[in-house]
Symmetry: C2
DNA sequence: CTGTTAGCGCCTTCAT
DNA sequence: ATGAAGGCGCTAACAG
């Protein structure tokens, strides 16, 4: 490429005049549609190279009404389980030649709904949604603007057209874990609930846990503990508690970093894990295997989830999607923070 | 919005005819340029609402030659330090009203250079780059197509126009750490080097570490150990080694998950950390504080880096960027995996 | 204050 | 095989 052609981007028009052919011909070689002599193709390609011409994706998008881009809606890439999922999605999107536009939602529902507008206006071909904050109406709205959707982490949706869904099945394993717990002992069960920005997934799991305890006749042994979304604060909170050996029992935590707060608070107070305090983390990262004692988690491979989601979306875009629902079942990965 | 208008998206043209005004007037109310009666504005807004019209961002982009989108180039969001940076970038981009398009590079340099094309064609307003794989020529190429760039993690660049740079300064603290080590003892220093996909940052740090050892007269005590980029494999490798109490000393690891491999391998062989084996992780996440013993790291707040980078980029776009270089100095965060 | 008319950069019939 | 012309959805002068 010739460096002289910097600054103002060269357009297809310039390529046409420079090469002595028409727009149409240049367009044909760009898009590799036939009906072009090898000779002229060579010439056109040569001047494209010489001028350093790159077709504008947005002009192409407008003309073809096809932006070859997909949206991804996530709460924040801060949490490594989200990062893993994101990674799975972008890997697959890349394979299929889609650009990925990232839409990050805020804590509050109101601002959250604003991303719906953005997604619609961005003219993406489709969107993968992993976000507890978005209402079902928000999702419906996107679909009504004919943007195909793949939703992760919801059990059901009242619409089915142009929608694929990946439910994350924690219920069964969570219930089983609790019932196994009560078969082996009768310590209290504590469910850690974050005080703010708690999504619908954890809210429903809380209800499920409570329900299971009640069903097993241990409703009096189920407690909810409010925590903040921070390792340090969780650690401090439980350090004070465990110092007096209070509230020992079986802890169910939303994420492994918070589970580690409980874990370290217990260990540092010479409280034995898993004999005096047991810990289960719902969501786990690779670090749940690394920390000592290692954490029992309700395992779901988030990278896998992300890549499947993106694959389902691309299939929707080709109209080749067979099953619109692909549930992911968590499996309990028993490690050292719970008793055998 | 009326549900009847689904499927085929309504255009500004329809809004114009429906409301009885011209394109120009509708366009004015959309963009809130003045010169419109409150009355007609109201009417236009009403039919926009009624038809459920949303302006197409790509058509706007083409017409205004302003896509209000920025690119982000990263190797993969898998690693949580990248995820934190990404989070910082998207947070700021959102504040300034930019869409974020994610470009994920592959391992191999060749495919890596392909993202350059993509970035150029995407017509982004600017791009933040955090990627060791991209060559300086790749970056130059983007700049030559007049896309402003903010590069993270490089010490220098031979171009300065339209380029902001955020060097990540590990050298000084790394040297200091090593000299402190030799003041307190004389154990061997082992530098863990990943066998593949190793970026230029770690390569240069390796050289620096070696250089410092030599300078201190301990060149014979510096060793490089090849590892793979996996906690489990690193753990296994060092478990075998430590079983026979071989190669005890001071370990410098690229990331905390790998440092944990060494850490756990030592601990599980009843080798005391930090008295027999010391461990320093160059890059640390929140988990480096969580694991026991906690890891000494060369601390840099990656969220902060990401948000500063995006802020510098937006300032470039407004032409209000003062200093084009904003070095981030790592500080050594001494914790329990090294001796005082 | 409102409407007309060119584009933005590219694709795509339809002729030739 | 090639070119001319219209259009994708919207903005931005320029006239009225």
């Amino acid at each position: 490429m010739n460096e002289d052609y910097m600054k103002k981007r060269v357009t297809i028009y310039q390529v046409a005049t420079e090469s002595g052919f028409s727009l149409a011909t240049v367009s044909r070689v760009i898009n590799d549609k036939g009906n072009v002599t090898e000779e002229t193709k060579r010439k056109v390609l040569e001047t494209i190279e010489r001028l350093g011409y790159k077709p504008s994706a947005i002009a192409q998008g407008l003309a073809k009404s096809n932006t070859t881009s997909v949206g991804i809606v996530i709460p924040s890439s801060m949490y490594s389980y989200v990062a893993n999922m994101l990674s799975g999605m972008t890997d697959i999107a890349k394979i299929y030649g889609y650009k990925t536009i990232l839409f990050v939602t805020s804590q509050d529902k109101q601002a959250s709904s604003k991303v719906v507008e953005e997604v619609i206006q961005a003219n993406v071909e489709g969107v993968v949604i992993f976000d507890d904050q978005l209402s079902e109406d928000d999702i419906k709205k996107m679909v009504s603007y004919s943007v195909p959707v793949c939703v992760i982490g919801r059990d059901s949706l009242s619409i089915s057209d142009n929608v694929a869904i990946i439910p994350l099945k924690y219920e069964q394993t969570l219930r089983k874990t609790i019932s196994l717990h009560f078969e082996k002992g009768d310590e209290n069960v504590y469910f850690l609930k974050m005080d703010e920005g708690e999504g619908s997934l954890m809210t429903s799991l809380l209800k499920i846990a409570e329900d299971e305890c009640i069903k097993l006749g241990h409703g009096d042994k189920f407690f909810v503990k409010e925590i903040s979304d921070s390792y340090t604060q969780t650690y401090d909170q439980f350090y004070e508690l465990f110092k007096e050996r209070k509230d020992l029992g079986f802890y169910i935590c939303p994420r492994d970093s918070l589970a580690c707060g409980v874990l370290n608070a217990a260990t540092d107070n010479h409280i034995d894990v898993p004999h005096e305090v047991q810990i289960l983390s719902i969501i786990g990262t690779k670090y749940s295997k690394i920390v000592r004692p290692s954490l029992t988690i309700l395992d779901v491979d988030m990278y896998e989830v992300g890549s499947i989601a993106m694959r389902m979306l691309t299939k929707q875009l080709n109209k080749t999607l067979q099953t619109k629902e692909y549930p992911f079942y968590s499996s309990i990965l028993e490690r050292s923070s719970t008793r055998k």
